[in-house]
C-alpha cells in the first residue's frame, strides 16, 4: 500500500498507484455472463490520460467541478481519476435520482462538466430542468449508439486530447468532492469533502480491512456513495487490488460473480444482505433431516471456534458448500448505508462469513465506527476507527445521548450553507443527529435518531422537507411531512416511515377524494420516498414570524397523540 501520509491529494496518490501497480489487474467489467474487459493499472492510465488531456484542453483546471452520473463501471473510475489528476472537484451524483433532481444538484454544485451514460443523458436532455442550468459547459456521454441524437453532448470515447496531460497538485485542505447527502428539496446538502478527509479515512479503514494486489472487490453499491467510493475505488487503488464491476445487478448474476471472480470483499446494503440470508435459510430448511442435523452440528462447531475472532481457514473447511457459494475466497461482507439488524449479522458470522458492519455518515467521511471482529459483536456498530474521537452529548441516565465526532475525516462544511454548517459542526465536533451509547467494552450501540429523517434498508437518506413539494396545493389548510420516529421516538433504527400531517379546512372531511389525491401525488415520488400514512391534526401549525412551520414544536404537539391510532394508512 502507498504511504498515504506522504500525499497531499487523491489525484497524487492515484497517480502513483497507477505507476507502482502498473502490471497488476485493476478492473474487471462484466455484463451478465459476458466478461467485457480486464484492465491493468497500466491500461487504466492509458485510458485516462487522453481524457485528462482533453479536459485540460477544454479549460478544466484546478478547482473546476465535474459531475459523474453513471452506474458502476470502469468509465466511472477512469473519469474520476481524470478529474482528480487535473485538479478538479468531483461531484458524484446518485444515478437513481430523477432528471429534475439531477439538474437541480448540477446547478447547485456549479459543475462545469457532466459525465454520464447515454440512457441517462437521453432522459436528462429531455427534462425541463435543463433550461435553468447554464453552468454545465461540457457533457460527455458514454456508450451512445452510432446514430444517437446527442443533444449537445460529446461522446466520452472520442473526447481524447493529444499529448501528455499536466498533473495538477491540490492541497490536503482543498475540496476533493462535493457529495450530496440529501437535499433535492429546498436545501441541497452538498458535503465538501477534502483530500485530507479521504486520505485519512483510507488509512483508518485499511488498517482493519486491508487490500493488497490479488484482492478482488465486487462493486455493487453505487460508486457515488461514500462506502463504494472508498472501498470500491480509492482504497483498492492505493493498494493495487482489483475492482469488479457488473453492469446488471440481477441477483442471479451477482451470485455467479462471487465464484467466477473469486471475490474477496463486497459491500452491500442491509436489504440485499437480508435477501441473501433469506435465500440461504430457505436452502438450509430444504435439506433432508439427516443432512440438516449434520449441518447444524458444523455450524455449532464453527460458532464455538470463532467465538473470539474469525478463523476463515477453519470455517471454509467446516462449511465448505456455503463458502463455495460465495466463491471460496470471501473474507468479509461490508455492510453499510443503513442500520443492519443484529440477527442478520449473527447469521452470517455463525457461517464463518464476517460481516463488517459499522456506522458512518457522509459528513464524517466513510465510517466512524467499524466492527473489528475481535470479538464479533452483532449488537453494536463497533468501535471508533483510529483517528476518530467519538463522544455522547448530554447522556441520559442509561448513557444514551447524541453521537458526536471529531476527526480529520469530518467534512469542511456544506456547500453554500454556512448557517447549516455552523449548526452541524460545533467547536470542531460533528453532531450526527443519531442517538447512541457506549457499552462497557467501548463498542457503540445506536438506539434511534434525533433528527427528522429516515434511512431505508436500501441505504437511502430521506429528509421530509425534500418531498413536501409534491403535496403543494393539496386541498387542506396546511400540511407537513415528518419521520414518524421523530415524533414518536422509537428505540429503533429500522422500519422507519414518513407521515403526512394534515390540518384540514374548517368543516372539511378527510374523504376518499382527498385520500386519492394524496395517493396520486405520493406515487409521483420514487418508491422509497413515499409517505406511509396520514395524521390529522385539528389545530393551526405553530409558525415563526416569517410563517415557517416550527417543526420541532409541531412534533411535540403530535407526540401527545397515540401513534397507532393517529396514523391512517394510505
Amino acid at each position: 500500500m502507498l504511504d498515504l501520509s506522504k500525499y497531499q491529494s487523491i489525484g497524487e496518490a492515484l497517480r502513483d498507484s497507477l505507476e507502482q501497480f502498473s502490471n497488476e489487474l485493476c478492473l474487471i467489467e462484466a455484463d451478465r455472463e459476458r466478461e467485457k474487459e480486464r484492465l491493468t493499472y497500466g491500461n487504466f492510465k492509458e485510458r485516462a490520460s487522453p481524457l485528462s488531456r482533453a479536459l485540460q484542453d477544454g479549460g478544466f483546471s484546478a478547482g473546476s467541478r465535474a459531475s459523474i452520473i453513471m452506474t458502476n463501471q470502469s468509465k466511472w473510475l477512469i473519469s474520476a481519476y481524470a478529474i482528480f489528476f487535473t485538479g478538479g472537484v468531483l461531484v458524484p451524483l446518485d444515478y437513481k435520482l430523477t432528471p429534475d433532481e439531477h439538474w437541480q444538484l448540477l446547478k447547485h454544485s456549479g459543475a462545469a462538466v457532466l459525465i454520464t451514460e447515454y440512457p441517462i443523458w437521453r432522459q436528462l436532455s429531455a427534462s425541463a430542468g435543463r433550461a435553468a442550468v447554464t453552468n454545465v459547459q461540457i457533457v460527455l456521454v458514454t456508450e451512445a449508439p452510432a446514430n444517437a441524437e446527442l443533444a449537445g453532448a460529446q461522446r466520452w470515447e472520442e473526447f481524447r486530447g493529444a499529448g501528455e496531460p499536466v498533473f495538477v497538485l491540490r492541497l490536503r485542505s482543498d475540496t476533493a468532492c462535493i457529495v450530496y447527502s440529501s437535499g433535492t428539496g429546498g436545501h441541497p446538502k452538498g458535503c465538501m469533502m477534502t483530500h485530507e478527509n479521504y486520505l485519512e479515512q483510507c488509512v483508518a479503514l485499511t488498517s482493519i480491512y486491508p487490500f493488497w494486489p490479488g484482492v478482488r472487490y465486487l462493486s455493487i453499491l453505487p460508486t457515488n456513495h461514500a462506502i463504494d467510493f472508498m472501498v470500491g475505488f480509492f482504497g483498492p487503488f492505493t493498494c493495487g487490488a482489483t475492482v469488479v464491476h457488473l453492469r446488471t445487478l440481477r441477483p442471479e448474476y451477482v451470485r455467479e460473480a462471487f465464484a467466477k471472480y473469486r471475490i474477496t470483499y463486497v459491500s452491500l446494503v442491509p436489504l440485499v444482505l437480508k435477501n441473501l440470508q433469506k435465500g440461504l435459510q430457505a436452502r438450509f430448511d430444504a435439506l433432508p433431516a439427516g443432512q440438516r442435523k449434520m449441518f447444524n452440528v458444523f455450524v455449532a462447531l464453527n460458532k464455538a471456534l470463532t467465538k473470539s475472532r474469525p478463523r476463515l481457514g477453519i470455517s471454509r473447511r467446516l462449511l465448505k458448500q456455503v463458502h463455495e457459494a460465495f466463491g471460496g475466497e470471501l473474507r468479509a461482507i461490508i455492510v453499510g448505508g443503513a442500520f443492519t439488524e443484529p440477527q442478520t449479522l449473527q447469521f452470517f458470522y455463525d457461517l464463518g462469513i464476517p460481516v463488517a458492519n459499522g456506522y458512518g455518515l457522509t459528513e464524517a467521511g466513510t465510517a466512524i465506527t467499524v466492527n473489528d471482529l475481535k470479538p464479533f459483536r452483532a449488537d453494536t456498530v463497533g468501535k471508533p476507527l483510529p483517528g476518530m474521537e467519538v463522544r455522547i452529548i448530554n447522556p441520559a441516565s442509561d448513557g444514551v445521548g447524541e453521537v458526536s465526532v471529531r476527526s480529520k475525516t469530518v467534512m469542511a462544511g456544506y456547500l453554500n450553507e454556512p448557517e447549516l454548517t455552523a449548526e452541524t459542526i460545533v467547536d470542531g465536533w460533528l453532531l450526527t443527529g443519531d442517538l447512541g451509547r457506549f457499552e462497557g467494552a467501548g463498542h457503540l450501540q445506536l438506539t434511534g435518531r434525533k433528527k427528522n429523517m429516515i434511512v431505508t434498508e436500501e441505504g437511502k437518506n430521506i429528509y421530509p422537507e425534500d418531498i413536501e413539494a409534491v403535496f403543494e396545493s393539496l386541498a387542506a389548510k396546511e400540511f407537513c411531512v415528518f419521520a414518524a420516529n421523530y415524533i414518536w421516538t422509537a428505540r429503533s433504527m429500522t422500519g422507519e416511515k414518513l407521515v403526512l400531517v394534515l390540518h384540514l379546512e374548517p368543516g372539511q372531511q378527510y374523504n376518499e377524494e382527498l385520500r386519492q389525491d394524496i395517493n396520486v401525488r405520493n406515487n409521483r415520488l420514487l418508491n422509497y420516498k413515499r409517505i406511509h400514512g396520514v395524521v390529522l391534526l385539528d389545530e393551526d401549525f405553530p409558525r415563526t414570524a416569517s410563517l415557517k412551520i416550527k417543526r420541532n414544536d409541531l412534533a411535540e404537539r403530535l407526540a401527545k397523540l397515540d401513534s397507532a391510532a393517529a396514523i391512517l394508512p394510505l
Binding site: 444515478y95 446488471t248 435477501n275 436500501e458 418508491n527
Partner: protein, 80 residues
C-alpha cells in the same frame, strides 16, 4: 408479433404468478412496489422472469425509475 395489449396482459399474469396474487387482480396502471408490497430486489427477480418469458434482455437502465406495469410493458414491447 405481440401487440402492446397482449404484452401488457402477459406481464400482469406473470407478475401475479410470480408474487402469488390472484391472476386478474393487477391492472396496467398499478404501481408494483405498492400493490405487491415488493422492494427493488424483488423487482429485479420479476424482471429476470419476464426476460426469460419474452426472450429479451432488459438492461437495468431501461427499467430505472419504472414502477408501473404499463410502462414496464412498453419497455418490453420496444425490445420484442
Amino acid at each position: 408479433m405481440r401487440t402492446l395489449q397482449q404484452t401488457t396482459q402477459e406481464v400482469l399474469d406473470l407478475a401475479a404468478k410470480h408474487f402469488n396474487v390472484p391472476v386478474g387482480s393487477l391492472v396496467p396502471e398499478d404501481d408494483f412496489f405498492k400493490k405487491l408490497g415488493i422492494d427493488s430486489l424483488q423487482t429485479l427477480e420479476m424482471l429476470s422472469r419476464l426476460e426469460n418469458h419474452f426472450g429479451i434482455e432488459l438492461p437495468d437502465y431501461e427499467v430505472q425509475g419504472v414502477s408501473d406495469f404499463k410502462t414496464l410493458a412498453e419497455r418490453i414491447q420496444s425490445r420484442l
